[in-house]
Symmetry: D2
Subunit: 343 residues, 4 copies
């Protein structure tokens, strides 16, 4: 069986490394090349020491787009919107693209200046990209060749709230979501300086994180209107991997606990990766895997939904592979069918 030839733009970052790790174990994919501006010509294990001895791949300077079946864009936010039009002109419309940045996630170009502080450079492409949150958008992904891979906070929160949106819930949802440091990428910075990140918690961008419109867009589509508003306070946590999202809202009038639980059971009944848990989830039960654990509680007129993912797997590269599988019509779990490590 001929393997699918994939390329990775931005292979030296954490999402790039995770993509390489996952794709090396994928039975139907061959990594044709992965680029790095920092390590051109060097073995990938220089950036990702876990891959030493597991691949002979060296970083390329550039990709030959025409030779690829699928391209993963794992560079920084803002790059993809500039590059995609030219890439598609060069490669032709046959090329599948999965963009891990935020550049093609929002349908409305007017949102970019506000949430990403830049005008969108290729607004005509926004409608062409399917939003790659498989469990809530599988049909569109299956029909697409261009995928906007969701953000990590967005994945955890939208999976937590999607069933409620679909059920017609309304109101404001208070979300506190804690992220691991790998979400800030492979380049050192003040917010990932170990002495001050260690044993610390620090909220940032309260109410103004760029994943808010992304989550609301998902919920609006599922609910048929802007019924749920997301009030998000992100928090930097003292661990490397994971997003832990705690969501609270009022139980809609007339709803029962049974109805709420039913919405979640229905939404994720056939899902290989979303697991409903009878107790609040543990972040370390999903770390290293493509799973999202979701817990829902109803009491005294309130709903709490708590979700946990690995930000680099289900929140980035694992989900990208899952999108590839769905796009290709393959078993959705190919190359992703493993548990994380625990403890």
């Amino acid at each position: 069986m001929k393997k699918l030839r994939v390329g990775i733009e931005g292979g030296a970052g954490f999402a790039g490394g995770e993509l390489i790790r996952l794709l090396l174990g994928h039975p139907r994919v061959e990594i044709a090349a992965a680029t790095s501006a920092t390590f051109p010509g060097q073995p990938v294990f220089l950036a990702h020491p876990n891959l030493r001895g597991r691949t002979d791949l060296a970083f390329a300077r550039k990709l030959d787009y025409g030779s690829l079946d699928c391209l993963f864009l794992a560079g920084g936010h803002g790059d993809a919107m500039g590059d995609v039009p030219a890439i598609l002109r060069a490669a032709g419309p046959r090329l599948r693209v999965i963009d891990l940045s935020g550049d093609f996630r929002l349908k409305d170009p007017a949102l970019y200046p506000r949430w990403y502080t830049r005008e969108h450079k290729a607004p005509e492409y926004l409608k062409k990209f399917a939003y790659g949150l498989v469990e809530l958008n599988r049909g569109e992904i299956r029909r697409s060749r261009l995928i906007a891979n969701p953000g990590c906070f967005a994945t955890a929160t939208a999976l937590a709230l999607g069933p409620l949106a679909r059920g017609g819930a309304r109101g404001v949802v208070s979300v506190t979501a804690v992220t691991g440091s790998s979400g800030s990428g492979a380049s050192p910075s003040a917010i990932t300086h170990h002495p001050t990140r260690h044993s610390n918690l620090r909220a940032y961008k309260p109410f103004v994180h760029q994943h808010i419109p992304e989550i609301e867009q998902v919920l609006e589509r599922l609910g048929g209107g802007r019924n749920l508003r997301v009030s998000l306070v992100p928090v930097s946590g003292p661990f490397a991997r994971g997003i832990y999202a705690v969501c609270q809202l009022d139980l809609p009038k007339g709803w029962t606990e049974a109805k709420v639980v039913g919405l979640y059971r229905d939404a994720y009944a056939g899902s290989a990766f979303v697991r409903l848990t009878p107790e609040p989830p543990s972040l370390n039960a999903v770390a290293g895997s493509n799973h999202c654990d979701v817990f829902v509680a109803v009491a005294d007129g309130r709903i709490a939904v708590i979700s946990a993912i690995d930000n680099l797997v289900k929140g980035a590269s694992g989900q990208a592979v899952q999108n590839l599988n769905v796009m290709m019509g393959w078993d959705e779990t190919l190359g992703l069918s493993f548990a994380g490590t625990y403890p």
Copy 2:
């Protein structure tokens, strides 16, 4: 100057050790004795290795209550309510008591069976204990000899929300609060097992933590009615010290950001320990100190209040010393006038 003779019941736990550490540096206090059922007759540094060489104190089996000026109760929840009546009979009403457990925090005895799963054994004392959240109840503490020292989640959350309550805010507050593992005490258990606590987050007791009625009692008193309801999801965090509370609510109709900020400035203007911060606080900026850092943001009709404390200092033993200072009419900061370590 004759020093105040204090005793500590339960000196081998984490709160007990922190009390000893703090009181050793208090200029007007002498530790007469500290008890431990586990280490009777042994030097305190066996339980608290940081105290090696800093004191010759050994754990006592029992205290001579009559010889004490002040007694700190740092044992488990449920012990104090059984012991206090006999202690006060033995020692006479002159003895000051600061109870670090939850046994005398709630005014309404009917709340104990629900939130602490036990009938209260000395309900006639509940009204005699002042609630020791100094910044919001200084006057009553000054006039009292019996103090119920607040819980750690309650301290962080009530300091975050007190100014809003006093200002007349109404509604439901969504609180997600993350706690360090030292809050679970010095005895090993499944929830503090390092392999699974490390790098993990895990919510527990959503909506049913026993600090909820304690917080609501404070807010009710400040607001003159049950105007604010606390919807709390506690989370176990992968660090040893701290409570980080993220509170969200709707901005009351007609309120402005300026009004909200003014409430906080007024509430904490003269406070030595509560610090208003222009950015969300860092937990490690308060760790090791009696400070509580509070940040408030208003945007799009929402309020976020974020507070950070060290659960063993401001959330337990430091606050107990602060209560002692206020009761005695001393400078509130005696023995507490230091910064924490950073980083």
Copy 3:
């Protein structure tokens, strides 16, 4: 192809959970049953939440040894020596056994009272078990049905020193080896209490750890005599997974750096799992994988050898699977051919 039926005694511990995780991904193995005294009849994901949704397996109370092709013993030290004779009588000599405890690692029964504080209960079996450090004892393992799976400190240290022993080095090796908390098992105890394990280092059993004779036995066999003596100080580290061993010794007279490096290249030339690194290894480059990274430096008449493993994989369950593969004559990497997660 008919799969090998394996059973796991002690499936609820960390090594047991890791075995189940690994064997679920092994193409030629079927887990017939795993026992737990704590969770009999319960799904395995109650003990190992990472396995939720990945298997329907529930813990058994007992194993039917006669129905198994291979038995993994993952219970506590001291159990296996009591059970193995009866198990083999019941199952017959056809049963393969891989014991993860220390019970059959030492050839000399006289060592047990000293290092394990108990008389050996089945000394006649000590010679029948092959020591399962594959890279240094592959031949014997291939011919055996009974395997003593090495200890975690022993694996890291023996792989670090084996090439030197084989080359005829003599002298005392100073070893400082730091272990993650998962090495202490799934039951909470004072040494794994998160508040005091977090951010801490603490040496224990200096010069008297029970893995010392195990390491020296390997080295003696490779060197043809008691040429290398291991002086080991184990240290408890503030992370969940890993052993990091730093070994130092005098460069033998007449030896050169080239000779030392050559010994390592020769020893591990065909090894899939031992990776020689040009810089000191990072623990997180091997975590989650069956790799052992080894670095060697020579300067000023001294040799430093530094090795890193995941204590639960190469230091326990991964090595057990590797032993199974070798015993069965399969590709040694079956079910183990993956990188760990990084970061």
Copy 4:
């Protein structure tokens, strides 16, 4: 009583922040000014959020050396050697200087090119600086106005080995010493990037760390010759504060355990900060304090000495304050008489 006016050059780094924290609690010292090139004119709490509300001090651009009684140099390695001559010319010989860098620690200028990769710019000052390891060099410090404050690895290792050197021990000492990330300073870099430092251990500069000649110089002086050689492998650890040094050597011929223990008792009998422990020390028992815990074991012809310090306190700023106290003829413990936090 008039307070001593001190200035701090490099007040925004971790050592600078710790100096400010400690000196704010020192009864006989007033901080005249602290400089920062990054935060000139800004309040010190911008760099050190633990100090918010504890001081009104703002960072200065420059110091007026002539107005100071004592100057702490807490800038980077290599700055002090260039600045000290001009500073002393400007301020006159009355100014006391405590340099926290490595610039004046080595007596032999020829060592600088090799270990610090630069020629020394003011070699004539090397003999004028006293080496500020108080417990082993108190007399010289008392008579000096210029102090070279020891390095963190050097402090932990020299305190561990000093008594042996003084007793005449000979041989090679194998040292593995693990450091917290704060030792790398306040500027983010690849080695302090949280995602990869977290849960990791990584050795670096084996046998070639610049603290080696510093330790050997101390030991040579105590032993009256180059009797002990230090073979050091430093390791980066996943915690913020601390140095944990494990030292091993052969028991000298004819020595007994009693003799070894006696050497340590004699050396540290009157010491307020060095504590001999009957079990291997815990790093978290010294964190936040100026203590050094030292444990010594003798078995089978080997000696293990294990020491633990807080790298920013006893390993840097606390020791600098201790040096000031000794220089001034004050009680050595002024401003340092507190336990660290535990847990």
